[in-house]
């Protein structure tokens, strides 16, 4: 019974494809895309200034307002800069940590190390960011209290604080994919590279890095996109700074069309990001 069903499927690649695509397709395309489309289309509408309800008259006023006011250019560049910095910092921490965990730690310790890397995930976003607030508070915070005597001071609240906070939050999302990728990297490849005369760093650059690049890209998608849409961290440790998400959050209730206009920016950025990723050929099917 089972084998004939399997044979039937094997002979019909299109059926297999259909079976694979139906559920996610329905969900993402119909449900999510439809709902999102209904929201983003309001970017071309306006609101009745008296009642606050959306008026479905096509016009480009919102885009004009957004593009002419330098404030929005500032917030876009700032958010982009933060997302890129967070991704870089996460990668810099994650690669050596994942390498140690996958290749150097004893097998019985590996599991414990993975568990230890993941524990911050259970400590709630808000609690962690408030802990960072305690740490970064100028003069009276933990960093100044602990490291002040040796001359290291907290950067205070603002851009660097947001980057530190977000990098902290998303670090497991970068470590785990890289760890999974490194774990499957056969040591024979690394031995061969050494046998052929490559020094460690050369092997790292020419053998390891290209092989874990898909995992790096997978991880970077999380750190980049999660940072792009974030706004709570900026409110708590960002000082006076705002991110794109803050602007959307402020406007969505009273002026949905304008909030939708701002929301098209992360969509565009992600489309560009994915296009760039495909150009590097990391995940050829992306």
């Amino acid at each position: 019974m089972r084998s004939s069903a399997a044979t039937w499927m094997h002979k019909r690649p299109k059926m297999r494809l259909l079976a694979l695509l139906t559920a996610p397709g329905l969900w993402l395309v119909v449900a999510y895309l439809g709902a999102l489309g209904a929201l983003l289309i309001t970017a071309f509408f306006t609101i009745d200034s008296f009642t606050g309800n959306v008026v479905a008259q096509f016009n480009l006023g919102n885009f004009q307002d957004m593009l002419t006011d330098p404030a929005y250019r500032n917030v876009v560049l700032r958010t982009l800069g933060i997302a890129i910095s967070v991704t870089l910092i996460c990668a810099i921490f994650a690669i050596p940590m994942a390498f140690f965990m996958a290749k150097i730690a004893k097998p019985k310790n590996q599991k414990i190390l993975v568990a230890l890397v993941l524990t911050p995930l259970w400590a709630s976003y808000l609690v962690k960011i408030y802990a960072w607030r305690s740490m970064l508070e100028p003069h009276t915070g933990v960093i100044d209290w602990l490291l002040g005597p040796i001359g290291i001071h907290s950067p205070g609240f603002g851009g660097p604080a947001i980057i530190i906070g977000l990098a902290y939050l998303w670090l497991p999302y970068m470590i785990l994919p890289i760890y999974a990728g490194l774990e499957r990297l056969p040591n024979s490849l690394l031995d061969a590279s050494g046998d052929l005369g490559a020094r460690n760093f050369y092997t790292f650059r020419r053998v390891i890095l290209p092989l874990i690049f898909p995992s790096l890209v997978a991880g970077s998608m999380f750190t980049f996109s999660l940072s792009l849409g974030d706004y709570i961290t900026a409110q708590i440790i960002g000082g006076k700074l705002q991110m794109l998400g803050n602007v959307v959050y402020q406007n969505f209730s009273i002026n949905l069309p304008f909030a939708a206009t701002i929301a098209t920016i992360p969509v565009t950025i992600m489309a560009l990001y994915l296009w760039l990723v495909r150009r590097t050929g990391a995940l050829a099917s992306l």
Binding site: A19, S134, P172, F222
Partner: protein, 268 residues
């Protein structure tokens, strides 16, 4: 490649720095759960256990934990199913819409939560006419959890290629057996990583949940938010976070042991 002991120690030191980075704030959380100050001021001038006793008496947090675990488990399951099938489709086949799928799947986490929240809330209320509840929370969470599983699965499938699969079928196994004995075990650790991260995302999510959870349902992040902004007992959230952190090591360690990978690249 050989790892000299100097390089080994250097990596161990980096690992130490990494762990210090990870655990410093968590230590602050644990210490603050005993801090008598209601505004988390540092250093604690006096210690108290009142927040712990308040947390133990609190029935709201227990209910919130149950809601969060239930929603997280269901959302992760759905994300596993949909994300994996999508990853297979994209990595093995060619079809119209392939390139846009990746954008679509990552949008839920790259847009501010309020956009996804409002979009889904409108869809539920106006287009589908279903009222919010656990089901809508799960739908909301699964929508942004798909990408976590999808990315990890896709990266692994790309690395894996089709040669093992083809070899298995050449040797006489049918599609289902091949999937069961060859493909799935090779995917396992990637899927496990994806599932853990997806659960973590769902467990921690507050904004989309506010709009997709109906009246009366309070997940843990919402409970924490409410308490942080009640003027009188913010430190109680530190107690909950500290407890979760301490107890979480055990299930993760256990689940890791249960999912032993049959093949591994080897270690130094």
């Amino acid at each position: 490649m050989t790892i000299s002991s100097r390089a080994r120690y250097a990596l161990m030191a980096l690992m130490g720095v990494g762990f210090a980075f990870i655990y410093a704030p968590l230590s602050v959380v644990i210490i603050n759960s005993f801090n008598s100050s209601r505004t988390f001021s540092w250093p604690p001038t006096s210690l108290t256990t009142q927040w712990w006793s308040k947390a133990i008496e609190n029935t709201g947090v227990r209910k919130a934990l149950v809601w969060s675990f239930t929603a997280g488990a269901m959302a992760t399951l759905i994300a596993l199913l949909l994300g994996t099938s999508l990853a297979f489709a994209v990595s093995r086949y060619d079809f119209f819409g392939k390139e846009v799928i990746s954008l679509l799947v990552v949008l839920p986490i790259s847009l501010p939560g309020v956009v996804t929240g409002i979009a889904l809330s409108n869809a539920f209320n106006q287009q589908l006419g279903i009222s919010t509840g656990l089901l809508t929370i799960v739908i909301g969470h699964a929508t942004f959890c798909i990408v976590v599983v999808y990315n990890n699965a896709l990266a692994r499938l790309k690395r894996m290629g089709t040669s093992l699969q083809e070899a298995s079928m050449d040797l006489g196994a049918n599609g289902i057996t091949t999937f069961r004995l060859i493909t799935l075990p090779n995917l396992a650790s990637a899927l496990f990583a994806g599932a853990l991260l997806a659960f973590g995302l769902s467990f921690d999510e507050i904004v989309v949940t506010t709009f997709t959870a109906g009246p009366g349902i309070e997940t843990l992040p919402i409970w924490i938010y409410n308490n942080l902004f009640r003027p009188n007992q913010a430190p109680i959230v530190n107690v909950v976070a500290a407890t979760l952190v301490i107890f979480s090591v055990i299930p993760i360690y256990l689940s890791q042991r249960l999912s032993q990978d049959s093949t591994s690249g080897g270690r130094f």
